[in-house]
């Protein structure tokens, strides 16, 4: 019986060998795939095992971490003034993942970034838990507060930039949400999440970066710049030859009327800007032509996504037929822009034609404050010539000076303020309440420290009272005043 027994023994040996091969395969070959599998809860346990790094504004964290009683997830993300900062930070939820800055800089915040390897090794040797790094933003807390409180209960967004650097100073979007309400994974978090997801006002939409609106009359700033750049006009004080009403080209005599009667006929660009003459700017857009308009719009950043480092939707100035192109010149038709984009337009004009790349993360630092990454401001484009920029500045400053509806009393008279209102029509035959826009900038002796774009979707007031100057301009003035006050200190 020994011969078959030896064979059985060999067979058992083969079984053991098969087991050994299998465990080697699973624990060595497949290990990485299994470790990082999305269903592997360990990934999330690890993620919340240590407090996350913070997002910093004005040297103060606007985020935090709190220890929980949970067995698995030791720490939970918290936010200071979550509703106000949500468009900046995004959320970091144990159940629903991360977005925006929390997502873009996740590896820094968790401390898993390769560039933090050295720190982590030191921590490991000295017996400390892994710590997350911090994200230092360019935002200005006072400006953000002014923007957020200015928007109040209304739907809208505000973006403020430092035109000299491209730094984002304020980024507000309302209605907003408190990311703390679903930071965990309990039933209450799921309820809060579902409620926000299903809400008709889309509170989790970042209107400042991810929503495009018809820019309305604020786009006339760009049209004026395009006309100057393409030599359609030489001076903003020369009269133009456009009639009132303006007949859209290639149409069966479709007239384009003006808001203010009797001032737009052959008006100068300065006056056209002041009275927001549709006829003049539609005519200029038509004369510059679709190609030329696209060229200038793209010089200001249209038709591409911007990463600040959170992705901002592309604003669109499309290829169009002549009547559409004429309409696009006054910010209607298929022309759409994000609030960020319109802030960039104002910023480029204020910065004498130089468009700086917008950004909101200044530094990434390790827990012991070693700088891992430092943003160097860089020029995105020479949007228009300095001469063009200066002429457009003049027209915008006329708008602020001559419009009795715009109150600039809280800003010192030494400071030049330029702006442009907009009331973008929408809906079939202008059936829905229009969007109220205002873009503006301030210029001091040391250049322009701030440019702002404000959009309000629905003012909650009678539609005849909706206007850029009445609803949006006060918010922009508050934001600029906040930035200027900080600038002087």
């Amino acid at each position: 019986m020994n011969k078959p027994m030896r064979r059985v023994a060999v067979f058992c040996g083969v079984l053991i060998l098969a087991l050994l091969v299998r465990v080697n395969y699973v624990q060595f070959v497949q290990a990485d795939e299994l470790q990082s599998h999305e269903d592997n809860r360990r990934v999330r346990i690890e993620r919340y095992a240590n407090p996350r790094g913070d997002i910093i504004v004005d040297g103060q964290p606007i985020t935090g971490s709190e220890e929980t009683n949970d067995d698995d997830f030791t720490y939970k993300r918290t936010w200071v003034d979550g509703e106000m900062w949500a468009p900046v930070t995004g959320y970091s939820s144990q159940a629903f993942g991360t977005t925006q800055l929390e997502y873009v800089n996740d590896s820094i915040l968790t401390g898993d970034d390769d560039r933090m390897f050295f720190n982590n090794t030191i921590d490991m040797i000295t017996g400390k838990d892994q710590r997350g790094g911090d994200v230092i933003t360019t935002l200005n807390g006072d400006a953000q507060l002014a923007a957020f409180e200015g928007l109040g209960d209304r739907k809208g967004a505000v973006v403020a930039l430092d035109p000299r650097r491209g730094a984002i100073l304020a980024l507000a979007s309302t209605p907003s949400y408190d990311p703390s309400s679903f930071a965990g994974y309990a039933d209450s978090d799921a309820e809060a999440w579902t409620a926000l997801e299903g809400h008709e006002d889309k509170p989790m939409l970042n209107r400042a970066l991810r929503e495009t609106y018809p820019p309305g009359s604020t786009f006339k700033v760009l049209t004026a710049a395009a006309a100057l750049e393409h030599g359609e006009i030489d001076n903003v004080d020369d009269p133009t030859e456009y009639e009132d009403p303006y007949i859209l080209p290639d149409t069966q005599d479709v007239p384009l009327t003006n808001q203010v009667p009797g001032v737009c006929e052959e008006a100068t660009v300065r006056d056209a800007m002041r009275y927001s003459c549709n006829s003049v700017f539609a005519g200029l857009s038509n004369d510059v032509g679709n190609e030329g308009m696209i060229e200038t719009a793209e010089a200001f950043g249209f038709n591409e996504e911007h990463f600040v480092p959170v992705r901002a939707d592309a604003s669109v100035y499309p290829e169009d037929n002549r009547p559409q192109n004429a309409m696009a010149g006054i910010g209607q038709a298929s022309n759409r822009a994000t609030p960020l984009q319109m802030a960039m337009v104002a910023a480029a004009i204020a910065n004498n034609g130089s468009l700086m790349e917008p950004y909101m993360v200044d530094q990434l630092v390790t827990p012991n404050l070693n700088v891992i990454e430092q943003h160097d401001p860089s020029e995105l484009n020479e949007a228009v010539s300095a001469d063009t920029a200066r002429q457009v500045q003049e027209t915008m400053e006329t708008v602020v000076e001559e419009n009795s509806g715009i109150d600039r009393s809280q800003i010192s008279d030494d400071i030049r303020i330029g702006g442009k209102t907009g009331t973008a029509q929408r809906g079939e035959n202008n059936s829905e309440p229009p969007y109220a826009w205002f873009i503006s900038y301030a210029i001091t002796d040391e250049g322009s420290p701030v440019a702002v774009a404000v959009v309000i979707e629905d003012g909650g007031v009678d539609r005849n009272e909706i206007s850029g100057s009445g609803l949006a301009a006060p918010i922009a003035m508050d934001v600029m005043a906040a930035v200027l006050a900080d600038e002087q200190n």
Binding site: M1, N2, K3, P4, M5, R6, R7, V8, A9, C12, G13, L15, I16, A18, L19, L20, R22, V23, N24, V26, Q27, F28, Q30, A31, D32, E33, L34, Q35, H37, D39, N40, R41, R42, I45, D71
Partner: protein, 466 residues
């Protein structure tokens, strides 16, 4: 292990008993789990666990008594089996105690902390081990109970159908009031080996020789084929009514192995494999529980009802362990959830916390134990002992393969416990008895032949020199 000049355990006479070797290794077998215990305590609470001294002393005492009994009643027994079994049992206790520290899988509904119970069952197991060695002077006595064991084994196997309860889709438990639940299959596997050994020793010539040669293989006669078909039918029945894939595989596999060894005919193996394959395919396609397991095996990471399966959780445990593991007490095998983490899936904890290195070491311990069993079979001098030893070692080998293979995803998962390591009273008691039987056979095999009686004739023809 025998002397360096002799690499078999076949005794040629003055073979050393190796009891001191066993004692030395037992010391390691006790010290290693004690260290593991300390390791868990330090990892979980950052202090030495309070029960460490008691635990160490308890395990040491059990091992010591077992050793003394072996020394007295089976002095020539194999020196490796007791230390390996002790080490596996000790590590199993530590692992269960470690999992007891996880509140989520130690709720009252899951039976609370299971390590104390397991320690009690281990003690009972070692008591049974001692009882077998003390009262079973010669394994050949078991031959007398061939047919009784058959009846007992069959009763044990079918009992869950009538008095059992279904747990986790398998009907393999029997509730005994006041004692707890029992897994009769664990005991049946030993008794069935006794029955096969006795039956085949008597019938092996008939089975081996009376056969016709058809197409190059020896086809057994119908009446010899009969018992195989009966066994096949019974194992299928177990599978269908108890949905216990593991036990039927074990039951059938061991019958084929013992038949093959007894008859030395390959044709029996071919028959066995054909029958088991067709049975398995039939059941897998009819029975949803088995079909589900096959599906889990083929797609281990798939979600079921939008949830992560136990199979996937076990795979994640293995994957997260990597080469060296997270360290005892620092893994997350509790995510497997339920009682399974402490029983069927205990290898996942080994894989996660001791890593590939630790898991391979554990598998090698089993391999070594199986190898010692096989050697005992080769060394045994009587056919009943040979068959019984190969049967017991085979049962052990198949069980280890089926469980470890199932948990690591090599084969579909079946509901059986990892011998000694996993939580389960029946399992640990039965396996201690199994080791005792193997030790008894190896003691007989290695015992020096009695010195030949002095021959009077030789004395008389001696040339007396002046």
């Amino acid at each position: 292990m025998s002397s360096s000049s002799n690499n078999t355990t076949v005794s040629t006479g003055g073979l050393p008993s190796r009891r001191n070797t066993e004692l030395l290794m037992l010391v390691f077998a006790v010290v290693i789990p004690v260290f593991a215990y300390a390791n868990v305590g330090l990892a979980k609470e950052e202090s030495l666990p309070a029960g460490m001294l008691g635990y160490g002393l308890g395990l040491g005492l059990l091992a010591g008594i077992a050793h003394l009994v072996v020394r007295r009643w089976a002095p020539y027994a194999d020196p490796l089996m007791l230390p390996i079994a002790t080490l596996l049992n000790g590590l199993g206790l530590v692992l269960i105690w470690r999992l007891d520290q996880e509140p989520k899988i130690t709720t009252p509904s899951l039976g609370g902390a299971l390590a104390p119970g397991q320690l009690m069952w281990s003690t009972t197991g070692i008591a049974l081990f001692i009882g077998v060695l003390v009262f079973l002077k010669d394994h050949r006595l078991l031959q007398r109970y061939t047919y009784i064991s058959m009846v007992v084994a069959l009763l044990l196997l079918v009992s869950p159908i009538f008095v059992g309860q279904e747990v986790n889709g398998a009907r393999i438990w029997v509730q005994i009031p006041g004692v707890g639940s029992l897994q009769p299959g664990e005991f049946a596997k030993i008794i069935i080996a006794v029955f096969f050994a006795g039956y085949l020793m008597v019938k092996r010539d008939a089975l081996a020789l009376a056969s016709r040669r058809v197409m190059g293989i020896y086809l057994p006669r119908g009446r010899d084929l009969g018992p195989i078909l009966v066994i096949w039918a019974i194992s299928l029945m177990i599978l269908i009514f108890e949905t216990d894939l593991g036990t039927s595989l074990l039951f059938f596999g061991i019958f084929v192995v013992m038949l093959y060894v007894a008859t030395e005919r390959t044709s029996w193996i071919i028959f066995g494999l054909l029958l088991s394959a067709s049975g398995a395919v039939f059941v897998a396609s009819v029975n949803s529980h088995v079909g589900e397991r096959v599906n889990n095996w083929l797609n281990p990471l798939d979600r079921v009802n939008d949830g992560v399966t136990e199979t996937a959780q076990a795979m994640f445990s293995f994957g997260s362990g990597g080469l060296f593991g997270s360290g005892l007490g620092q893994g997350y095998s509790r995510l497997i959830g339920g009682i399974a983490a402490k029983s069927d899936y205990i290898l996942a904890t080994v894989g996660e916390e001791l890593g590939l290195a630790g898991l391979m070491a554990i598998i090698m311990l089993y391999a070594l134990l199986i190898e010692r069993g096989m050697r005992t079979a080769l060394a045994a001098r009587d056919p009943f002992g040979k068959l019984l030893a190969i049967g017991l070692a085979g049962v052990f080998a198949i069980q280890v393969f089926v469980v470890a293979g199932g948990v690591t995803g090599l084969i579909p998962l079946t509901g059986m416990t990892m011998p000694f390591l996993a939580q389960g009273g029946s399992s640990v008691i039965a396996n201690w008895a199994l080791i005792a039987l193997l030790l008894r056979i190896s003691d007989t095999a290695r015992r020096p032949a009695p010195a030949p009686a002095p021959s009077l004739d030789a004395e008389q023809t001696q040339v007396v020199r002046p």
